[in-house]
């Protein structure tokens, strides 16, 4: 039987090729994203391992109550004199203090070297080379005196800097000029997980990073014969309260875990994409197998007729599925390598540089690829195989006639129940108290529900969409009939497209709502004419020095600075915006419900009205707050506000309070009100000139600000859209599959049409129009679901300042149009095949 299986598979090369391609593409997407994810994570393990490899024991302050993304952000610095305590511990060979902070390098043209998302680090390089671990000097030497800096090899390359070059470095305080004396690498890598690094001698680092007489941590080298863990315990015992000592390895693991957690959203996104791709792939595999088995009814009936049992037939089909699944998965895993590289390149193109030196293939990736690919194939084969074994030999000889389409009540009921349950779960997850996991769960429920209902929907849809085709002559009319003849097949083909388009449409709706809400905020609650911001949205902020520079510009009336940060309020992690209470009213409108913005004192807080109502707070109440480094504070409520548009946080504090608890904070936005009657453009130009020495900030008017943010949103959206388009691409392959197999199935019909005078061009048009009808059905259902999902997401975030819902009709219409065009493209191959049907062989009955 097995020999017959292989022979049977090879006998239909096209069919085999189409099925294998759909499996391989699904697996490739899955494997590619997994590989990318693994490589990213491993890259961080390596980086932190190498940085900490020279440290046997690390001493640092205990973490504060506030959990921040980077655990080091929540630790206050250590007094410098603690190092003497550490040096006195038995078994300590060397102990060196280190500091770190914000330092933005500029390139040879004075432009900031701003990484995408990763921090811009400044610090000191250990003076004992043995303590630098895998941080090695690639060229030059370590910085030894003020005015010298060593930088990471990536920054040197990107900024066109080398030993001997001069670079201006921006700090929280005034910028300074440095001479590059060395470049460093980290084992094999050129940078620390995408961030930029500037190394100074210890005294300089302490001065420019605002860490006089303190260290962020102390690194210890153990003497001979002392194990790291023993020494860590000894040092820990000797330390004053509030400080701890742990092994270098533990610190590395912690840092790596923190970064991975920070990257978690990316991993989830990648896994989400893989899931979508696999889902789409399963549809196609399912569809292709069903049609394949249906077409082989005669062959299978012959097996039955010559004495094969049902079980044997079943086993033949399943064996075929297993062989096909294994081979195609293997191809898919190999293709996944390319997919991972392509995805990485894609992210880079869109400005998200991932730290992946080389692709890593985990055995688990290979296993998952094989398992998923094969399993999906086998599962997809079971239902059609069962149907095939029930076929009586007599039936097999009949011609394939369209069966009357009858849908059971079970289908309707199950479909409606799943869709309704999905919508319910989605809404509960978004608006209710349900866990966020309900959101993807709900989406999957809706998709399954719609999948079950789809055969019922496609009939009227094909009828309506195909209606204009009646005018396109007989080809159009027949295409419409063909799309309607097997609603289940049309539905499952279209559904593959639905999934991708739902996501694309949801993202589009969400993005345009975001943009529209943002420009609404700018026009309704902001009174300032100009904004000073960081040049890219990825930067941490700009130095408060910038605010002073802008204040001095001729024609500037008021500069109202603002900052942003995280803290625990009333025991719950949250974020705050800091404002200048004396000028805030002139720059923007907080929509004060109770009190005035000017009432905000240092040590006070303004609370978002809704939050205050929920908590039952009144003006004068005290909110217990914990800032990451400096610990707890009791903030008195000075007022409530209603307009979250600009501040985008539940709590507003004064810049003074912010400074007190976060001394090295950066500014996020300066709102600039120009003098009455001054020419705004001229003032903007003058600010721009004044900021020539401060490339960490840039000035924009309202339109430019809107454009810049819109551009950033668009960029994010296009990245997501491009990735989702890969899923759409797989879906198109499914349409090619369905059409190719339909053409094969309808050979005799096509021959008849050709015999009674249909030209090849007309035959091609017929197949093409059918493809267009299927694609447009998929696109329309997808757009409808996507609009719903997008609106739900947007409404759920209304509290976050996304108050407007915008459905970009033109863009969505373009997607549907693009789907129609894609349908035409998908039909090229099958249409050619259809037009080449041999008339005689098709119509002559042997």
């Amino acid at each position: 039987m097995f020999g017959a299986t292989i022979k049977g598979m090879l006998a239909h090369k096209l069919r085999l090729f189409l099925t294998a391609t759909s499996i391989a593409l699904g697996v490739a997407f899955l494997a590619g994203t997994l590989m990318l994810n693994d490589s990213m994570q491993r890259a961080f393990d390596d980086v932190f391992g190498s940085v900490n490899s020279g440290t046997d024991v690390a001493v640092r302050a205990e973490a504060g109550a506030v959990k921040t993304e980077d655990p080091d952000d929540s630790r206050p610095p250590l007094p410098a004199k603690v190092i003497d305590v550490v040096r006195g511990v038995d078994g300590v060979a060397v102990a060196e203090g280190s500091v770190r902070g914000y330092a933005l390098l500029t390139d040879s043209h004075g432009k900031p070297i701003q990484p995408q998302g990763a921090p811009t680090l400044g610090g000191n390089l250990a003076s004992d080379p043995g303590m630098r671990g895998d941080i090695t000097l690639r060229t030059g030497r370590a910085p030894q005196r003020p005015g010298e800096v060593a930088i990471d090899a990536s920054s040197a390359k990107n900024g066109d800097l080398a030993v001997g070059s001069t670079t201006r470095i921006l700090f929280r305080g005034a910028p300074e000029k440095y001479t590059v004396v060395g470049t460093v690498g980290y084992a094999g890598e050129d940078d620390l997980g995408g961030s930029t690094s500037a190394y100074f001698d210890l005294a300089t680092a302490q001065r420019v990073l605002g860490k006089q007489a303190v260290y962020d941590s102390i690194s210890v080298k153990a003497g001979d014969g002392v194990s790291d863990s023993t020494l860590a315990k000894r040092v820990d015992a000797a330390l004053p309260r509030g400080m701890e000592a742990l092994t270098g390895q533990a610190v590395a693991d912690e840092a790596s875990a923190a970064v991975k957690k920070g990257l978690g959203f990316l991993s989830i996104a990648l896994e989400g994409f893989a899931g979508i791709a696999l889902f789409v792939g399963s549809f196609i595999i399912w569809n292709t197998f069903s049609m394949q088995v249906a077409q082989r009814t005669r062959e299978l009936a012959l097996f039955r007729a010559i004495g094969a049992t049902r079980r044997q037939v079943m086993r033949t089909i399943l064996a075929e599925a297993v062989v096909l699944g294994l081979v195609a998965s293997a191809i898919g895993i190999v293709l996944g390598l390319g997919m991972a590289k392509a995805l990485s390149a894609l992210m880079t193109t869109f400005g998200f540089v991932l730290p992946t030196a080389s692709l890593r293939i985990q055995p688990s990736t290979v296993l998952v690829g094989f398992l998923v690919g094969t399993l999906v194939t086998v599962v997809a084969a079971v239902a059609p195989a069962r149907r095939a074994t029930r076929v009586l030999p007599v039936e097999a000889l009949r011609d394939a006639a369209p069966t009357a389409t009858q849908f059971s009540h079970t289908r309707l009921g199950l479909g409606l129940a799943l869709a309704a349950g999905g919508v319910g779960a989605l809404l509960w997850g978004l608006f209710g108290s349900g866990t966020p996991l309900l959101i993807p769960g709900g989406v999957v429920g809706v998709v399954f529900g719609v999948t079950i209902l789809a055969p019922m929907i496609v009939l009227p849809m094909a009828s309506v969409i195909g209606a204009p085709l009646k005018g396109a002559g007989v080809s159009g009319e027949l295409a419409r009939e063909n799309a309607m003849r097997n609603p289940k097949r049309t539905a499952s083909t279209a559904m593959a497209l639905v999934i991708g388009l739902t996501m694309v449409a949801a993202v589009t709706v969400f993005g345009s709502s975001l943009k529209s809400s943002f420009s609404d905020v700018l026009t309704s609650s902001v009174k300032a004419e100009l904004y000073v911001l960081t040049p890219t949205p990825n930067a941490e902020g700009f130095s408060p020095e910038v605010t002073k520079v802008v204040q001095g510009v001729d024609g500037v009336d008021v500069v109202s600075a603002s900052g942003f940060g995280a803290a625990n309020f009333d025991g719950k992690a949250g974020s705050f915006t800091s404002i200048d209470p004396t000028t805030a009213d002139q720059a923007f409108d907080l929509g004060m419900v109770d009190g005035k913005a000017a009432d905000l004192k240092d040590g006070g807080v303004l609370v978002y009205d809704k939050t205050a109502k929920t908590k039952g707070w009144k003006v004068g109440d005290v909110v217990s707050t914990a800032f990451p480094r400096q610990g707890s504070a009791a903030l008195r409520i000075d007022g409530m506000y209603d307009d979250k548009g600009f501040v985008n946080a539940d709590y507003v504090i004064s810049l003074g309070t912010h400074d007190k608890y976060v001394p090295d904070r950066l500014e996020s936005t300066d709102m600039v009100v120009v003098d009455n009657g001054a020419d705004v453009d001229a003032v903007e130009q003058r600010i721009d000139d004044a900021l020539a020495t401060h490339p960490d900030a840039t000035v924009m008017n309202q339109q430019e600000f809107e454009g810049a943010l819109g551009g950033f949103i668009d960029q994010l959206l296009s990245l997501v859209t491009v990735m989702l388009l890969l899923a759409v691409l797989i879906a198109l392959l499914g349409i090619v599959n369905t059409l190719a197999l339909s053409v094969f199935e309808r050979t005799r019909e096509l021959g008849l049409l050709r015999a009674v005078g249909m030209t090849r061009a007309q035959v091609r048009a017929m197949v093409r129009w059918e493809s267009v009808v299927i694609s447009v059905i998929g696109a329309l259902i997808g757009a409808a679901l996507g609009i719903g999902l997008g609106i739900a997401l947007t409404r759920a975030l209304a509290d976050q300042g996304i108050e407007k819902v915008a459905v970009p009709g033109v863009q969505l219409a373009l997607y549907v149009l693009a789907a129609a065009v894609a349908g035409v493209l998908a039909a090229i191959g099958p249409a050619r095949r259809a037009s080449k049907v041999d008339v005689l062989r098709a119509v002559v009955t042997e």
């Binding site: 007989v474 005799r748 049409l753 015999a755 009674v756 008339v839 009955t845």
Partner: protein, 250 residues
């Protein structure tokens, strides 16, 4: 070589001149048609008969432009078709020729009515309502016109096919074993209809059959053996045809 001349007073709807059709090469070469010349008269019902493998179906396909002769010339009316391109042949079939095959004549997605006017639709021509009406009435399908083929009996399906073949007023209708899959009653109905179309509606029909009973509906029977025309018979009766077939060693 046998040449059968067109009789006075009629003109040729189709004719073949020295047509040869060979399959395969060298040793394996098989002659399906061996230097055949034949005239199909306009306005008459011609049957082509012969034992299995005599080449009768091949002759029909070559005459109808569905297949190309290896050598020789084929004319539909006065038009030489053996050198035509695929596109020209398609248009010729569409405008000048009607077809009835042994089975699978109808598109399963279309109703009987839609199947009947399909060739006209393909050509982008408006059906002549009176003509289509008269055909449909003669075929006797009135109440079943809105049905899909799957809901029609075999005999009804073949009658729809016959109506389809005649709907565009073709110069000639080719029928390839049209009764081959029908019971005798349905077969007789269909043949009666074809006979009526020739006599009353002035159509031209060429039919390949191996059934002497079917052949006797024709005005003329052409006998083929081993790829060549060997004889013909006018206004035949089934006994005569049967007798003749025996002589041919069928």
């Amino acid at each position: 070589m046998t040449i059968i001349e067109t009789r006075a007073g009629t003109h040729s709807a189709a004719h073949a001149r020295a047509v040869t059709k060979a399959y395969g090469e060298g040793e394996a070469r098989v002659l399906a048609l061996d230097d055949v010349s034949v005239d199909i008269e306009s306005g008459r019902f011609t049957a082509i008969m012969g034992p299995s493998g005599s080449g009768k179906s091949t002759l029909l396909h070559v005459l109808a432009g569905l297949d190309r002769p290896t050598s020789g010339e084929v004319y539909i009316g006065d038009t030489e078709i053996s050198g035509m391109t695929d596109k020209q042949l398609t248009l010729l079939r569409r405008d000048k020729i009607g077809f009835i095959f042994q089975s699978f004549n109808l598109l399963p997605t279309l109703t009987a009515q839609e199947n009947i006017v399909l060739p006209l639709k393909i050509a982008g021509r408006k059906p002549d309502p009176l003509w289509v009406q008269s055909i449909v009435e003669t075929v006797g399908l009135g109440p079943r016109l809105k049905h899909k083929p799957a809901e029609l009996s075999g005999g009804q399906q073949q009658r729809v096919a016959a109506a389809r073949a005649l709907a565009s007023k073709p110069a000639i209708v080719f029928a390839d074993e049209p009764t081959g899959a029908l019971d005798s009653k349905s077969g007789a109905d269909l043949l009666g209809f074809l006979q009526h179309a020739v006599k009353e509606l002035d159509q031209t029909v060429v039919m390949v059959t191996h059934d002497p009973v079917a052949a006797c509906y024709a005005d003329r029977v052409v006998f083929l053996t081993d790829g060549d025309v060997v004889d013909e018979m006018l206004s035949p009766s089934s006994d005569e045809v049967l007798e003749h077939m025996k002589h041919l060693g069928a």
